[in-house]
Structures are given as C-alpha cells and as structure tokens.
C-alpha cells in the first residue's frame, strides 16, 4: 500500500480538465502489474494450450453417447398399453345375424344361361362363397367354376359405379334422373321408328314379362336376341327331323355306349354339372358297371380326355363319318334305315382319314350290341345335316329311351336369325331406329364383323347399354347404365320344365347401380323419378302371385308360399311336356356329304374359363389353367404336331389365319391329339375397352367369324395359314412331356403316379392295382398312433373329369390370390389344388390321365423335417399344419416336397401389381374371414379346409356330441360335379369314406418314398379291350 501512496499524484494531474476515471485502486495508483497487464490482450493463462488430460474424463461426445445409450437402454423393453382399436357393434342388429356365423341364402346363378340353383354364403352381410343348392333338381348342390368365381365379379373394383353419358368415346358421369328423363323422351318421341332391344337369351319368365310390358308401352319395340354359342342348329335339326320340340336331354347315366361327335358335353355343351354327374354315375367302381365313351373330334377336350376310345377327325368329315357308320351298321343288318347309304363305306372312310380300323370295328360292334342303350351325340358346332344324320342313327338304334322326356330347356326369347339381325342393321343404317337398348349384352364384341354392327350404331338415334362393366359395346354407347350384380338382384329363371328357381339379393347394391329390369320399368312408367329400390321386387312378387302361384294349386296363402319359395330357392311345378314325335322322312333329303374340305379347318370353341368373354375380366378364371393344355391368361391356335411341321412353325410362333378377307394373328400351340390341318381357337379373349384384367389378354377369335357360313357359325373351311415370323410367350402351368425322349416318356406310369387298369382286367382280378402296393417300410421316426379322428381324402379318378371347378372353389374358400401371367410364366401360381394332366402314347393319339394334386398330408411328411422353425408340423388328427406366423420363408419344405404342392408368396400378391388393381380395399370384403390372408415371404398349401374342421368341431361341442368325419366337407368336394372327392375320418369304419379309403383300386402317389400320404387315389379303369391297350 505504501507504493500506492507514493505515486498517487500521477493520475491526479491538475492540468487535466476531464475527470480521471479509474477502475480500481490498483489502476488509480498505477500498480505496475496493472500497467504490465494493459499490454496483453488476454489474461495470463487464458491462452495456454488446450489439454484434454486436464479436463474431466467424460468428453462431450462420450457424454452424449452415454446419454443416448442410457435412454435407449432404459427404454429397451418399456412399452405403454397399445391401442387395440375399436369394436363397433351394430346399432340395431339384424335378427338373423350372429357375428362369426355364416348365413346361407338360396338364389339362382346367372353366370351362364343354365341358371343353376345356388346357396350364397354370407358373413355379416357380405357374400363370400357360392355353393350349389342341394334341393335344385338340376345341379344338386354343385356349382361350376364360373358360378364360384362370380363372387369376384361382385367386388370387381372396375364395375361401373354411376351412369355415364358418352360422346366420341369420352364419358362423363350423369345422374340417373337426367339419364332416365332423356331416354324416356327419346323413347316417347320415336314417332313410329323402331326401338330395338338387343339381349342375350332370357331365361326369366318375369323379365320376359317386363319386356312384353315395354313392348305394349312402346309398340315400336322389337326384341333381338343372340348368343355367341347356342344349340340352335341342334334344335332346328331336331325340329326338322321330328316336327316339333327341341333336342332333348340325354340320360347319360343309363347309356352303355356314348359316341360324342365333336361334342364336349362334359365341358361346354349343355349343363356340364348335370352331365358330369350323370356320366360319372355310369362309371361306378362299386357296381363295376361302366359306360364306354367314344370321342370322334378335332382336338382334345374335357370329354375327349375322358374317352375310352378317341379318333381324330376334322369337323367337315363328320357327316361322311355318320353316313359311313350307318352304312356299315345296316350292311351288318343291325339297322333298318329309311335312307340309302350305299355310297358310303366305313373302311374306305377309315383309310381316307387314317383312322384306327380296330376302334371303328369295336364301335360298330358296340352300337349293334347295345341298341337302345347307345347314344350318339353331335356337338353344337356341327352343321345341320350331321345332326339330322345323328337323329336318324339314334332313331334307327332305338335310342329314344335314352332321351329324357321330363326336362326340356325353355328359353323365353328365341335367338334371332341372321336375317333378323341383318334387317336391324339395315334399319339402323337407314335411320329408322330411334333407340337401341343393349340389355346386358355385348354385341359389338360378339357379332360377326361382317354384320357391320359397330359402324351401324353410330347412325342409331340413341344407344343405351345396360351393363355391369365397361366393354366394347358401352364404348360406343351414348348412355351407359350400370346394373346390379347377380347377388344384388331379384329375379327368377325357368330353364327346365318342372322347376322354376328364384333369385334374391344378398347384399344391397355396392354402387349406384340398378336392377336392369327396374330400369326398363322406370321407362315403362314414363317418369324418371318413378324409380325406387323395390320396383322390380314388387313387380316380381306381383307376377308370381298373379301368374305362377295360380298355376301351382298351392294350399298355402301367397305370402307363406312366397317366403317358402324364397327359402328353398326353387318351386317344383307339375307341368309335364308332351313329347310327340313322328319321324319326318323328307329330312333325309338334307343328308348329302359333298362338303369340300380344302385348306385348314378353323373351329371356334367356347372357352372353358372365360366362356364367350363374360368372364374375361375375372382373374380367377383367367388364371385357372386350361383343362387340356394347362395354359392360363391366353388363347392360342391349337394345331397338331404334323401340321406344325408342314407349316414350318414351332410352338409359340405367331401365325396369321386368313378365312376369306378375315384375318387373325395368334400364337401356335402344338396340342397333342389335334386332327391334322385343323386349327382350334377358343373365344372370349382379345377384349378391348373392358378393364384392366380383360384388356389385351389373348386374341379375339370373333374376328374370324362370319354371318355367312357353310357349315356353322363356328366351323370354317378353306382357311390359309402363314407364318408371321414373330413369337409369343404362353404361360403354361404344366410342361408337356417329350413323347419321344425315353427318359421321361410315360414317367407318370413308370413311377406309378398314374395307375390304371381296364375294366375287364379289374373284373377278372380285383387286386390288379393292390398287387403293385409297396410293403410298409420301417421309418426312423416313431409312428404316431392316431387313435382318434384322422383326416383323409379319396379321389376317384374314374369320376374326375379334370374340369377344374374344384380349383376355383378352393381359391374362393381359402383367399388365394391372383398372380398374373408374368408370375405364372415363372411358375409362381398360388393355387393350392391343381389338376395334373399326363399324356401317354403318341402325340397323335395320346391317352390322357388327369389327377387332382394337392397336399397329401403325409404321415411322415418330408417337409416337416426340414423346416428350421417348425412352421410346418403335424397335428394329432393327421393334418400337415402350416403356421404362417411362424414361417420365415426358407422354402426348404417346398424343396423337399415330392408332390410339389407347396406355394410360396414371392410377393404380397395383393399389392405388387403396378396397376394397384388388387389393392382396392373393396376386394378385402371378398375374403373368407376364417382364413388368414397371407403376406409376402410365407409358404402356404392345402390345409384340408382346416377352418371347416374347426367350425365343425365347435358345432359338435355346442351340440354336445362327438365330431364325425362325415360332418366335414372340403370346398373342393362341395364343388365337384361328378362327386369324385371324398373326405372323412380314416378311423371311422362305418363311414362312406372308409370304403374308398381302403378300396382295392386305391393307391398312393409315390408310395415307395414311404411318406405315407393321406390322399387315396382310386385308379382309373378304362373301358377298353385289353388287346388294344
């Protein structure tokens, strides 16, 4: 402090006027350390080097890392309550609904004109499955693939949702009211010009009454009906032969010998469900009585696949064949003919067409010795003279008892003739048609191009199309009116004498659609606001009360009768048709066989899957493999191997077919068993403006059709074929075996996958199949005792026609996705059940064996041993279980499965398509809620419908009884028209199933592997003579 005192004057200089500010005493007294410090920018030590060692060990980074880690660790397994969503009960629960239990409603299928009776299974108001109505006398509880797949049509995201108004192919939404009033105005101001209603054949008595009412309101109305495939030729030939009536139904079950000429009665001709059942009844291993089926046709069909003897013949030669056959029979004294056939010779015919003479001899012998029990049936596509000749032959053979008198097909609007349709088009072109109403039909696609229908439509005053979805015809219409689906509609149908079936809606219309009859009724009322939801319902009830109920002499009052009829879905009537027949001798004048057969013959055949195109938007039907070629998502030109060689084309090469000036390019498929110089094409493909699924799939065979045809609408002679040089990819789910490679030739027989015998051999030695049985071999695994129920299946290959109805039934029941052509090409189809088709013999005359193949639920399943996560294992009731939530997708199981029945979800097939068609939420409504919807990366396979077993078990528990094997039916079994599939308890010795399980013809596929499958195949017996095997 003394220093401070001594220097204190320096800062207190009196000369300074400004006050001298000081910050501290040190500064005031000019402490040298302060003066020294003034010279430094920073305080001492502040700028010393940074040293980490001097700091805390915890760096900032580490601190943050630890902070994060401890937060993460603290939260490792912490969780809060998860939100589990809501349960939303009904506000007012409909009385009939128990959540979780299905309801069944009887209705009528409108997938084709056969109008089978169906039961629609609904869950909480959503239709999810279709079964046949067991009370219906025609289909007896069975329904075909199209009827099953109809569910997808209901939920189709591309259904029309609102009325549309179009001009020059651009469409805008319009209200029903505006559309109706505009149309009513146009109809009312027709001024004598014609109003044309174009429709497919109408099977409903009440719909035809609506049309009658329409006619009386608008007298200028004329109705035109057409169908792409019909029995018209067959029926007109019958009329010409016998004076009246229609070609009757055949008692297939009573026939001993069936001769099918270009007839596919097990496939697309007639009601295949009924035909298959009756045909299969005639091939019963229990009674050992077998019919014998001869097929003389141009290519393999479902019927041909099931034939005992088959001959290839081009269609134009059929008339000569029938005449020669008659000549041979009469020359042997077996027939008494009213027509001179001396110009024909069967042996000459056989030489000309290179037919197997032994088979022909056998045919002649069989016909002669089974008179009255031998039926000859000609296909609908053959020309009239063949049908007349066949009628004559059946008459001479005394086969009239083979025709059913009790049932005749009834159709309310007969198909219009070519002249009538021509006159309609003429009138449109002349401007004499005020309105054309397409009543749920698609003539622009279906009618032959040389009618010029599409072009003519532009001259019609008003074109209105009632349709469920867009198609070629809606595209050129002014008004497109969306109509209800089958399952949203009221209706009735009469396709047989003695039975009328009723159709009831099971769901309210999903979109702003209307019942097609209601639309007409609104126009009949003449007021656009007269529509209401119950319009047609009331009309239908009224019509039944006034006309149908009166004729039935029912003891019930109408209300009770009506609800009873709705419950049953059918009403049996007692109208018995009077079949009078007198053979018209003049008809023999039609029998001339001078048909030229130049060039190639082209046959256009109804598609097994998509019919005339009415199912081409349906993914399930597109993906169902063709029953013969196993090709999906396409049509093709089926040509024989020899013809391919002659033309110099390979499989899948593109060819151009030319008939007159009509041309079509499509790929060649070498189809075994096809007659030489014949091209068979299926219809229903090559659609345009018909939605995502249908468009550009396959090739439009209708382009080859002509209104003027020599033989019939479906058979054309004198076609020319040229190779275009392009090639195409066809997606086939089963490769063709090489016929000439000794390593794989008849592999299915050498490996005993297919075991067959002849009826004669079986009668002689009932153990003919069992003798090949492999002895049980020891296994490294302990056998499971299976004391209680044990599930098993038996498939009677004598009855299975290989049609594929079961495949679609399985798809619907088990939520199986559609994968698309690109995935089928790489063998990723998802169907749990497939029909394997094997050829043996020569490519010219192959013998065909069909075999439904599904998970065999092996007792010692090879798939189970290799699963690293035990996602597939065995249940105590013998099921090979597949647990999706455990599966990690190694695919070892599939690799180790000898039957190749496991299917892997390579994608989430519901969202992997770029067009997002499958992602539409509406498609989720279609799913069976009792079956998990599988996602990407899991394996799946047939479960023996385990959801039905569980349901049966719950019902048994509810009723306090034991579950029996016969309580459960699988979806495939339910749909099988020929009753080829049996399912039940292997240990129940009393059951029907037990009989088939332990049948002497039963065998297991790949038995020698000792995997002990639980699907028994009943070996096919061929009703052929052993010397010709």
């Amino acid at each position: 402090m003394s220093d401070i005192k001594s220097d204190n004057t320096q800062n207190m200089d009196s000369d300074q006027l400004e006050p001298n500010y000081w910050r501290s005493f040190e500064a005031l007294y000019n402490d040298p350390t302060v003066i020294e410090a003034k010279g430094h920018e920073f305080k001492e030590g502040v700028t010393d080097d940074f040293s980490a060692t001097g700091m805390s060990n915890l760096s900032r980074r580490k601190f943050l890392a630890l902070l994060g880690a401890s937060a993460a660790i603290a939260g490792t397994a912490c969780t809060d309550y998860r939100d589990k969503g809501e349960i939303v009960p009904y506000n007012i629960k409909p009385e009939e609904i128990t959540v979780g239990k299905p309801n069944f409603y009887a209705s009528t299928c409108t997938a084709c004109a056969n109008a089978c009776g169906i039961l629609i299974k609904t869950r909480e108001g959503r239709p999810i499955k279709v079964d046949g109505n067991p009370d219906h006398p025609v289909n007896k509880g069975k329904i075909c693939a199209k009827g099953q797949a109809n569910i997808l049509n209901l939920y189709d995201p591309e259904r029309l949702k609102t009325p549309l108004i179009g001009r020059n192919s651009s469409f805008n939404e319009v209200s029903w009211k505006d559309a109706d009033s505009d149309i009513i105005n146009a109809l009312a101001s027709a001024n004598g010009k014609e109003i044309a209603i174009v429709t497919n054949p109408i099977t409903s008595p009440t719909t035809s009454k609506v049309i009658e009412d329409f006619k009386s309101k608008y007298p200028a109305t004329k109705v035109y009906s057409y169908s792409l495939f019909n029995d018209d030729i067959k029926n007109s030939a019958w009329q010409k032969t016998f004076g009246s009536g229609k070609y009757p139904l055949i008692k297939w079950n009573e026939a001993k010998v069936i001769v099918a000429l270009e007839s596919d009665f097990l496939g697309v001709d007639g009601n295949k469900i009924e035909n298959s059942r009756l045909f299969a009844e005639g091939r019963d291993v229990e009674t050992k009585s077998f019919n014998r089926l001869y097929c003389i046709d141009s290519t393999l069909t479902i019927t041909g696949n099931n034939s005992d003897y088959r001959l290839r013949l081009r269609p134009e030669a059929q008339i000569e064949f029938v005449m020669s056959l008659m000549n041979e029979l009469s020359s042997k004294g077996a027939l008494n003919l009213s027509v001179n056939t001396s110009g024909y010779s069967l042996s000459g015919f056989a030489t000309k067409y290179n037919l197997n003479k032994k088979v022909l001899d056998q045919l002649v012998k069989d016909l002669a010795s089974n008179k009255g029990k031998a039926i000859v049936d000609a296909g609908i596509s053959l020309s009239e003279n063949v049908h007349v000749a066949v009628n004559l032959l059946n008459e001479a053979l005394g086969n009239f008892t083979m025709f059913r008198s009790d049932s005749v097909v009834n159709i309310f609007a007969e198909n219009s003739s070519v002249q009538e349709i021509d006159s309609l088009i003429q009138k449109i072109n002349d401007g004499n048609v005020a309105a054309v109403i397409h009543f749920d039909c698609n003539p622009v696609y279906h009618l032959a191009q040389d009618f010029g229908y599409k072009k003519a439509l532009s001259k019609a005053g008003l074109v209105v199309t009632l349709s469920e979805r867009e198609n070629e015809t809606t595209f050129v219409s002014k008004y497109v009116l969306p109509i209800n689906h089958n399952f949203e509609s009221w209706g009735d149908a009469k396709t047989r004498t003695g039975v009328i079936s009723l159709q009831q809606p099971v769901i309210a219309p999903l979109n702003s659609t209307r019942q097609k009859e209601s639309i007409l009724l609104t126009w009949i009322n003449g007021k656009s606001d007269s529509f209401n939801e119950t319009l047609y319902h009331e009309y239908l009830m009224k019509n039944w009360e006034v006309s149908i109920y009166q004729t039935l002499n029912s003891k019930l009052d109408f209300k009770r009768f009506w609800f009873g009829a709705l419950h049953d879905g059918i009403v049996l009537t007692n109208d018995i048709p009077s079949i009078s027949r007198s053979f018209n001798n003049a008809v023999t004048g039609l029998l001339s066989a001078n048909v030229s057969e130049k060039g190639f013959a082209v046959i256009i055949k109804e598609s097994y899957n998509v019919a005339d195109g009415s199912f081409s938007h349906n993914g399930w039907m597109q993906e169902l493999p063709h029953p013969v070629s196993k090709i999906s998502w396409d049509n093709y030109a089926a040509v024989s191997e020899k013809t391919c060689k002659d033309l110099g084309v390979e499989n899948f090469d593109m060819i151009e077919i030319k008939i007159g000036d009509r041309k079509l390019s499509l790929p060649v498929f070498m189809q075994a068993g096809t007659a030489d110089n014949v091209v068979v094409i299926e219809s229903g493909f090559g659609r345009q403006n018909s939605g995502t699924v249908a468009n550009e799939v396959g090739f439009n065979s209708n382009l080859l059709m002509s209104k003027n045809s020599n033989l019939s609408q479906w058979i054309y002679s004198d076609a020319t074929i040229t190779k275009t040089g392009d090639s195409y990819k066809l997606a086939s789910s089963q490769e063709h075996h090489a016929f000439d490679d000794p390593k794989v030739q008849d592999l299915h027989k050498s490996r005993h996958i297919i075991q067959e015998a002849t009826v004669a051999a079986y009668v002689k030695n009932p153990h003919v199949i069992k003798e090949k049985h492999h002895e049980d071999q020891p296994s490294v695994y302990d056998p499971h005792p299976y004391n209680g129920l044990k599930w098993g299946m038996a498939i009677d290959l004598n009855k299975c026609t290989g049609c594929g109805d079961c495949v679609v039934a399985c798809n619907v029941e088990n939520n199986i996705p559609v994968v698309g052509k690109d995935q089928v090409l790489v063998s990723r189809e998802m169907q749990w059940l497939r029909i394997d088709r094997y050829y043996s013999g020569t490519p010219e005359d192959p013998q065909v064996s069909m075999q439904p193949m599904l998970c065999q639920h092996c007792d010692q399943a090879p798939c189970e041993n290799v699963c690293p996560v035990v996602a597939t294992n065995h249940s105590p009731d013998g099921l090979n279980q597949m647990v999706y939530n455990r599966c990690v997708g190694t695919r070892y199981c599939s690799n180790n499965c000898p039957f190749k029945v496991r299917r892997f979800n390579f994608f989430n097939f519901r969202d992997h398509f770029r067009d997002s068609f499958q992602e539409n939420p509406i498609l989720a409504l279609m799913h069976n809620p009792e079956v998990t919807v599988r996602s990407r990366g899991v394996m799946e396979k047939c479960t023996f419908c385990v959801q039905r077993i569980s349901e049966g078990r719950a019902d048994a528990t509810h009723e306090n009884r034991k579950l029996k094997g016969s309580d459960i039916t699988t979806a495939c079994q339910d749909s099988c028209g020929s009753n080829a599939i049996y399912f039940g308890d292997i240990n129940d010795k009393e059951s029907e199933f037990y009989k088939y399980r332990n049948h002497e013809l039963g065998y297991y596929v790949l038995e020698e592997l000792n995997v002990k499958p639980n699907v028994t195949y009943i070996a096919k017996l061929r009703n052929i003579h052993s010397e010709e095997v």
Binding site: G85, I87, P89, K93, G100, Q881, E930, T932, V946, H958
Partner: protein, 190 residues
C-alpha cells in the same frame, strides 16, 4: 507385455456393455410386462357403462347382451338396440343414457374401445370354451366387480397354452367334463 486395445475391449468393455444391455432389457421388460400384455389396460369408453351395476348388482346374465358366446367364436358386443330394450324407460334422465339414446336415435355406430385382443392369425373361439363349462371370469376376471372393464389376464399364446396343458389343475371342478385343450397349431392358427 503390453495389453492391446482389443484385449481391453474384449475383456472389459464388451462384458460390461453386454451386462448393462441385458440387465436393463430384462429389468425394463419385466417392469413393463403388464403393459405389454395389456394387463390393466382399462381405457375410457364412449359411454361409461358399468359391468358392476348391470352384471354385478342387478345380476343380468352375461348372455343377455353377449348373445354370440355360446354359438359363435365371437361373444359379440351388444347392439345399441339391446341397451335400449331397458333404457327406453329406465334411467332416461342420466347423462350417459342421454348420450346412448342419441346414438340410437341417430343410428350412429357406437365405437367401444377394444380391451381384449388376440392377433388376427389366432382364431380364438368363445363357444367351445363356454360350452365346455369354462366361466367367463376364467379369462376376463371378476367382471361383475368392474366399474370400468380392464384386462385382468394375459392373452398371449403362452397364457392360452398354460391352461390348455394343465386344464385339470386350472379347473378342478371340471375335471370330469373336460380334457386338456389342444396344443397343436391348427387348433388356433389357420
């Protein structure tokens, strides 16, 4: 010999880290077990319905409302109309009943919060259990005492199997009536 850095990591750091991770996981896993399984989950419902009043005090049978329980795999939450069977006359002035009546009048769906849930791929069936004589309380707890329903038991696969394997010990009074439940996969998964 100098210890390498790796040696240090493997001998000291790794075991300690693993121990800390495992221990913390185990600790938090068990401490939040109830939440994970949903035990104690008792959310507020759109209408403060009391099972205690209805099922407990008034002794209304469970099946008066849960009509599906004997027939179907779903017990079924009752429709609003079921409530209105009584409440068109009973306690019409109470605020919760006024709310309920509004739902009924407007035909508005009543969104109850879901409390008991098994995953979609597990197909639990109420009817087989109830028909075998197993009481609702075996899984749902003393529902008659609950003002607001909450989950009492775990609904995991382990809990299912617990009873299925040891049914006689769990239900001694049903010893003669029931067999142990199925343990194979497709009993519940399909």
């Amino acid at each position: 010999m100098k210890k390498s850095f790796l040696d240090y990591i493997f001998r000291n750091r790794l075991p300690v880290t693993l121990f800390v991770v495992v221990a913390s996981f185990a600790l938090t896993y068990y401490s939040s077990r109830a939440e994970r399984d949903g035990i104690g989950y008792s959310p507020d419902q759109p209408i403060a319905y009391s099972h205690k009043i209805h099922a407990g005090d008034m002794k209304i049978d469970c099946q008066y409302c849960h009509v599906g329980v004997e027939k179907s795999r779903h017990a079924m939450v009752p429709a609003v109309a079921t409530c209105m069977n009584c409440h068109t006359v009973a306690r019409k002035d109470k605020p919760e009943i006024i709310k309920l009546a509004e739902y009924y009048r407007d035909r508005k769906p009543l969104q109850w919060k879901r409390i008991h849930k098994v995953p979609d791929y597990a197909y639990f069936n109420h009817s087989v259990h109830v028909n075998k004589g197993i009481d609702c309380t075996a899984c749902h707890g003393e529902i008659t005492q609950m003002e607001k329903v909450g989950q009492m038991n775990s609904f995991t696969m382990g809990s299912c199997l617990n009873c299925h394997r040891d049914a006689h010990a769990k239900f001694p009074e049903l010893r003669d009536k029931i067999k142990p439940g199925p343990e194979y996969c497709s009993a519940c998964h399909r």
